[in-house]
């Protein structure tokens, strides 16, 4: 991997700003604003009263800041349930992901290992052909994991793309490292934990990040496998708040205590749901981009 800083070519010649530059800048600015403004809008609405919002025409700054929406949405309780469930997914799920991914990636990265080829095809086949959600759902039902967090945690236990990215990274490490350790009498476990993992921290960090984001955004398995109000995942909690009317078809919240959510409360919920990713992204962008390029075309 060469320099990961993705920037344009430096051109010393003709560095004058011309009309074309202005046009390009304006187009890109418009596209960027098309992304930023909706977020600002969400932020502003979440801090406004419903009346201010309805009176406004193009709301980017709240007229008068109020925290009432946040208070109300947190009192509703389902966001808390969502946070709890999703944090469980993260805290149990990500370590499991890393354990399964790292050990298998290392095992399959050693050139001499006789079953290596077979298991690579074994993995790749599942990337091209899968059973889909129905057999998986019936399997979960048969092994009694429906309505438990384990259906989601185990169901998303491994990601083949990440596994192959990690294996490729391990294979790119100089083989002399492993061989000299073997000559010194270290066994494979010691090699993995004392040599490979410490020098592979960058890739492990990247893969951890990807698994964490996936877990945070988990909703599909959670929707199919868990139909229990006290185990609703965060994304589905948000879904039930924002898309209340239509969501009740997919979602089995009892309508008895359904409240009318104001736009402010809905947008507050959106913000609460994406806050961690928003806080983390600017600082870890480098790792995200690196993962993108390591996976090259593959994700």
């Amino acid at each position: 991997m060469k320099s990961l800083q993705v920037t344009g070519k430096k051109r010393r010649l003709r560095n004058r700003i011309e009309l074309l530059d202005i046009i390009i800048f304006i187009i890109l600015l418009a596209i960027t604003l098309a992304i930023i403004l909706p977020f600002l809008n969400v932020l502003a609405i979440s801090f406004s009263t419903q009346k201010d919002f309805m009176d406004s025409r193009f709301m980017l700054i709240p007229k008068k800041v109020t925290f009432a929406n946040y208070k109300a949405i947190l009192q509703d309780g389902r966001l808390w349930v969502g946070y709890r469930t999703t944090l469980i997914f993260l805290m149990i799920g990500v370590p499991l992901n890393l354990f399964l991914t790292t050990s298998m990636a290392y095992g399959l990265s050693q050139p001499g290992f006789p079953l290596r080829k077979f298991f690579i095809y074994f993995i790749i086949f599942t990337m091209m052909f899968n059973g889909g959600i129905i057999p998986l759902y019936l399997l979960m039902k048969q092994i009694n994991l429906i309505n438990t967090i384990w259906s989601v945690i185990l169901g998303a236990g491994l990601n083949s793309f990440y596994l192959i990215i990690m294996r490729n990274y391990f294979m790119s490490l100089p083989s002399s490292l492993v061989e000299s350790a073997r000559l010194d009498g270290a066994n494979e476990w010691q090699i993995l934990f004392r040599i490979i993992i410490p020098i592979s921290m960058p890739i492990i960090a990247t893969i951890t990040l990807f698994y964490s984001v996936d877990r945070w955004n988990e909703w599909y398995f959670a929707m199919i496998f868990i139909r229990k109000n006290e185990l609703v995942s965060l994304q589905l909690a948000l879904r039930s708040i924002v898309m209340e009317g239509q969501a009740s078809q997919h979602f089995n919240y009892t309508d008895v205590n359904a409240i009318e959510f104001s736009d402010g409360m809905k947008m507050g919920a959106v913000l609460c749901t994406m806050l961690p990713i928003m806080c983390v992204f600017p600082f870890l962008q480098k790792h995200f981009v690196k993962g993108r390029l390591l996976g090259a075309i593959k994700a």
Partner: protein, 309 residues
């Protein structure tokens, strides 16, 4: 005979030598068997009549009976056409967007904004479709930013999310909004891999920037474009469920029923006939497999690495 016995013996000897590796891959292999291969075996339900008390393994075989009903269901056939129609449109309206973004950002010489713009453009990809759909419902709603703009310029408010006509274009726009910047990263990397000398000599020769873009930058990322295009074609049957599921509503349900939505509806929303929906699911998996396999072969044939290893 003796020779092959010898070979088997050697193989197991080798395996014993690598026993630690075997143990290492065991948890992962176990996961694949349980959560990938048993469900693949579960697709045999397409040829069985599922009974809850007998489970996947012991339900009785019925041959092709399920398929007789599948191909008689007009909703199934419609959903296939809809999937193909929507996703061919993606090749037209979605695929070029990241390339254009990358070219523009690469040409941007006002360097101060480059990094910030790249950050903003890549960010939305990391939000789930639940969040993005929530934001879109707000932005495109009657009080939303877009309608406010329309009203400021004297137009009539448009019901974007409830319109069956606007639903498909909206899919392309929102997908570009969410993931255009993320795909752009790949193209930017490809551009930064182009030999600098080519640019320098072109500039000395007095080529205009458009000429340079057309004759150096674009050819330089041609391979990347081709590979991503083939991959996009390979995914044509399975793309977009998360997006469609979250952006559609009862008003647009009719135009939103792509194959995966159809499978979801018949499995989890109406009285489920798991054999029937597995039959549909198997059909989907087989088509998808053929598409991906061809895509992989074609990229290899074109001299690329192939899509999967």
């Amino acid at each position: 005979m003796v020779k092959s016995l010898e070979r088997v013996k050697n193989f197991f000897k080798d395996l014993w030598k690598w026993r630690n590796n075997c143990i290492m891959i065991l948890p992962g292999v176990g996961w694949y068997i349980i959560f990938a291969y048993i469900p693949i075996y579960g697709l045999t339900l397409a040829f069985k009549a599922y009974r809850a008390n007998l489970g996947i393994f012991r339900s009785p075989w019925v041959g092709l009976e399920n398929y007789v009903y599948v191909f008689r269901d007009p909703a199934f056939l419609e959903s296939i056409w809809r999937t193909l129609f929507i996703n061919f449109g993606r090749l037209l309206f979605q695929f070029p967007y990241p390339i254009i973004l990358a070219l523009l950002l690469n040409e941007l010489r006002i360097n101060r904004f480059k990094k910030a713009m790249q950050t903003v453009l890549t960010f939305p990809h990391f939000l789930s479709w639940v969040i993005v759909a929530s934001i879109m419902i707000n932005v495109l709603g009657s009080q939303g930013l877009v309608n406010s703009l329309i009203k400021i310029f004297g137009g009539e408010a448009v019901n974007f999310l409830g319109s069956t006509k606007l639903f498909v274009p909206l899919l392309y726009i929102t997908e570009n909004w969410k993931s255009g910047g993320w795909t752009m990263i790949i193209y930017l990397a490809a551009i930064s891999g182009i030999d600098t000398e080519q640019y320098e000599s072109a500039e000395i020769d007095g080529a205009t920037r458009l000429q340079i873009m057309r004759h150096i930058t674009l050819p330089g990322i041609k391979n990347t474009i081709v590979v991503l295009f083939i991959l996009a074609v390979g995914n044509i049957m399975v793309q977009g469920f998360d997006q469609v599921f979250n952006l559609s509503n009862p008003a647009t349900a009719k135009v939103a029923e792509i194959l995966d939505m159809y499978i979801y509806r018949i499995t989890f929303k109406t009285a489920a006939d798991f054999s029937f929906s597995t039959a549909v699911s198997l059909f989907r998996s087989v088509i998808n497999f053929v598409l991906l396999l061809s895509a992989d072969r074609i990229t290899k044939w074109l001299g690329s690495e192939g899509l999967f290893s």
